[in-house]
Amino acid sequence: MARVVVDVMLKPEILDPQGQAVQRALPRLGFDGIADVRQGKRFELQVEGPVDDAALARINELAETFLANTVIEDFVVKVEEEK
């Protein structure tokens, strides 16, 4: 079975309060040199059968219509090697 990963991130121009809160906490924790933090979602899908173009097209559609809210989010679909 193959693993397909869908990364969903807020569009760059959209406010990301979570990422901001994390970033603001960093100096307090003694971490500096990190200019920006954005927080998004990662979906790991276990796909039955071959991950061919047709399967990827379907997963793209799934990401576009369901996993991501394209009004405010962008997404990337990647096939991962199974370890």
């Binding site: 807020l10 569009k11 760059p12 121009e13 959209i14 406010l15 990301d16 309060p17 901001q20 809160a21 603001r24 809210n69 009004v71 405010i72």
Partner: protein, 749 residues
Amino acid sequence: MSLDTVEHAAETPDTEQPWKELGLKEDEYARIREILGRRPTGAELAMYSVMWSEHCSYKSSKVHLKQFGEKVPANDAMLVGIGENAGVVDVGQGYAVTFKVESHNHPSYIEPYQGAATGVGGIVRDILAMGARPVAVVDPLRFGAADHPDTRRVLPGVVAGIGGYGNCLGLPNIGGEVVFDACYQGNPLVNAGCIGVMKHEDIHLAQASGPGNKVILYGARTGGDGIGGVSVLASETFESTGPAKRPAVQVGDPFQEKLLIECTLEIFKEKLVAGIQDLGGAGLSCATSELASAGSGGMRVELDTVPLRDSSLSPEEILMSESQERMCAIVEPQHVDRFLEICEKWDVIATVIGEVTEGSQLEIFWHGEQIVDVPPRSVAHEGPTYHRPFARPSWQDALQADDAGRLARPANGAELREQVLKLVGSPNQASKSWITDQYDRFVQGNTVLAMPEDAGMVRIDEESNLGVAMATDGNGRYAKLDPYTGAQLALAESYRNVAATGAKPLAISDCLNFGSPEDPDVMWQFAEATRGLADGCLELGTPVTGGNVSLYNQTGETAIHPTPVVAVLGVIDDVTRRTPVAFAEEGQLLYLLGDTHEEFGGSAWSEVVHQHLGGLPPKVDLGREKLLGEILISASRDGMIDAAHDLSDGGLIQAVTESCLRGGKGARLVVPDSLDAFTFLFSESAGRAVVSVPRSEELRFNDMCGARGLPVTRIGVVDGDEIEVQGEFAIPLSELRTAHEGTLKDLFA
């Protein structure tokens, strides 16, 4: 990219400007040129276009809204009236209460979660800007058909957004409405209300006076949110270097807003502000022009000092940005340091962006060059006024003639029983707990009553037990049949709900949701509804303290039902005397207050059983509503009743079912001689309530009603674990509970 300065605008009168794309009419653009004596700069055009929009200027509605200021009942508790961020009423003991309802309909259709969340955020800042601590929120909602697939997208998102924002903010949600109707399919209504409390001396107004005083912007950084339309300007007038498409959707940060609230309240406590305004629609354009306009007029703003989230924003975009969780304060110079210190304490970014000046112009600079030089009143308060044509729709008579009285009625007890179960389990009449359990109703530790009570109630003074109550109501079906009466019925129901808890209704706010004002049918509905509401408020003695209008709620040619939502605020001297809805004491007597007629037009029964909408809505008798209210309040204060529930959609059987389920006790009902069982159970005559009276109080209660001339009928007793209508049918509570409480879960969980 060259900057469109004031000087440049004066020199280039013939430059083409995208006024049309920004939604201005030709004559409006001409008027702007006339006011300024030249063409506007890009920044000025942006400001005028958004401030003169329907949303900000109320240009179609204000000729009708005027009545709320004219038909003002005497002897009112109003401290601050319409025109400010929110009205303020005196509730005694030195306390003042401010409250308001606003719509966030269109954004919630596009992005349900964020649209609803930022709706809550916006109304809370309005209340905060008056100087008050927000103490509770309410959320009247309307969705398309319950079983429509898109409702599955919109409703869970809206509910999660309202909960997500309100819960994180620490404001108890104490009431609201959920109504389903196909007419709201492409236009859900997401109205949000907030109540705030302060001492009289703490009332703050949105005005900038005192030359030399500083203008401080504080809260979130400004980003490219909600400026979709204005990007046109950046890209067409100039060669924009920023992202081509700015988002029309705003994302809320309730955590930031919580900090903003605490920080602002601490600033109020130290009396550090001379004027204050929240940033909502039209962002800085609105805040600066309104503050200046309400003050002496002059203000100078250095726009490049505004802290940005996105450095590519153009000055027009900064002026228009609707980034959430921001406030603007006018502060005397000697208080600035302390002001900034308090902001720092709460991790809130605060920046001096300008000052109040001697002059009468609002002047805005960008990198040292002047891009705005306008009389602020012309932007904020002197927008266009339309006298839109209106006329009674051609279909209105036919609709009213289609009398619900002719619909087939249940023929026997078995059919009645079946229809009762169908009614109480229909999406509109079903329990809303699947939704309301997602809202924190306990936070702040002052909630006396919350869903599913008739009105929400919060204690505002721990020593004296002073409290306030609020209910919101609106019935679009009634208003469609007759908008004048429909608006009065919304008012009457909300008033009745508040009185049923034992609180005295004081004043109202409203949210008027209608279709396109360019349609004379819709404008007629609007004119009728506002007239009905204003007349009703005059008669009931409850002034309109403020509200909100949402127009263009329509899909293509089809408008939503006219939906005036009314929020009534009441006060109760001692919250320990409040009346809940639950029938909890076995053996107590049930009395029906008021008169029941054969009134089924627009009723829940006609909808659920016959999918019918026609005829006339129930008649309104506001004198009777007032009397009923007085009786309910006296009875509660004097301990004559243990429970009360107003009768509204669904009629008596709906109210009795809710009260029985809430108390976990059954009831035996007897149909009064003067009525048939069907009318008794399903009629929606207004001005009624059902109460539970301890036997020891029966005489006293009857005497009081008799002495004051309110019809009262003994209809049964609290008893057992079923609802029995004698001679007709009986339904076990467990069966009613399954029908009533399962519906929304099955649809949306």
